[in-house]
Symmetry: C2
Subunit: 215 residues, 2 copies
């Protein structure tokens, strides 16, 4: 549990990955990972232009190897195979899952984990990592809108409070985000389910990029 300086964002070329890369680049050395190195480099250049901070691109495997801590900005289905490939590289490291298994049916999002929660599935594959769940409800467009205040609560699930504290340091490095400990990884089920709830509330009430604040 040495200090975390370099964060690897696995599958980081999408809006959430780029948004987290942008916001975290002010404090951390950030590596965006992708299956294709050229795509990762393209996303990294885009983020660097946005923030004026140096962000680099790499393959997912290289990002997992070179980082002190990884964030898995992956769609649910992609996760398990890729994680098995990276299990060794991520051993002994803090791994944060913002993964939300979701389905869209009849214009409505629903939470659809195969079993328990995505975070628990991640932990069962990465059994040598410290796995936590966080960042599910922070809208990617808001992360990418550098300068916009993010007065949101970020519920964090992790088996141990020490792991929560490591995650809290990373979350708090993004101005105004407020991490709260939600308990063990089984709590991730309710936290992950917040995302389809927020998306449905947004669609049904004509609101964009809804997030959550516990008050």
């Amino acid at each position: 549990m040495s200090e975390i300086r370099r964060i690897g964002i696995v599958g980081g070329t999408g809006p959430l990955g780029r948004g987290l890369a942008a916001r975290l680049s002010y404090k951390y050395d950030v590596l965006i990972g992708s299956r294709e190195e050229t795509r990762a480099e393209g996303a990294a250049e885009e983020v660097s232009r946005l923030t004026g901070r140096k962000v680099r691109g790499a393959t997912n495997l290289e990002a997992a190897r070179a980082c002190d801590s990884a964030i898995l900005a992956l769609p649910d289905l992609a996760a398990s195979e890729l994680l098995q490939e990276m299990e060794k590289e991520l051993g002994g490291k803090l791994v944060i899952s913002p993964i939300v298994p979701m389905e869209m049916k009849d214009g409505r999002f629903s939470y659809s984990p195969s079993d328990g929660s995505a975070a628990e599935s991640v932990a069962s594959i990465l059994d040598r990592s410290r796995v936590a769940a966080a960042f599910h409800t922070v809208p990617a467009p808001k992360l990418l809108a550098i300068g916009e205040k993010l007065e949101y609560t970020v519920p964090v699930a992790a088996e141990r409070r020490e792991t929560f504290k490591e995650v809290a340091t990373i979350v708090s490095s993004i101005q105004d985000l407020r991490p709260l400990y939600a308990g063990p990884l089984s709590s991730a089920r309710t936290i992950e389910a917040l995302t389809p709830l927020l998306l449905n509330l947004g669609r049904l009430n004509g609101m964009k990029n809804l997030s959550i604040r516990m008050v």
Copy 2:
């Protein structure tokens, strides 16, 4: 779907029931129901003293019979037997479920519906009523603290948007509460699960009466 003037709060002698009675008494004629009429009358007197508005007590059956709309301020286990007794009285009426099936284990709350959500179970019993789910995340002590601002979001689940609109009128009668439509009753599962999440976040982070605001 005539105008709602009289609201019956079934099982309304606990903190949530008294809190809702107090806040709703400014716009509605409120009846607090209980198995024992004397307990209902005691709670009604207490609320009347708090608000200066006339609130009456009655048996649950009488409250169900005399109201235009009912709120079920019941612990989960009590619900099904009692609801079967009141099924006829509540037929054709708007019925709001704030019920949250919860267990406490090892100092941690977990959501424990027998099947689907409490609101769906209520709807399966009261099949001649318009059932909606609301008010799960508004802390009872805050409702009872008359004068305190309640700047919270109240997610509402109901099969039809017309039913949501009826609920929204009731929710909005309490100053600063903001109702949002969350979709059909199956969404109640995620909404009900917010309560144990909030309770755990409160306990684990030293915060009291946490509620939720979608921003």
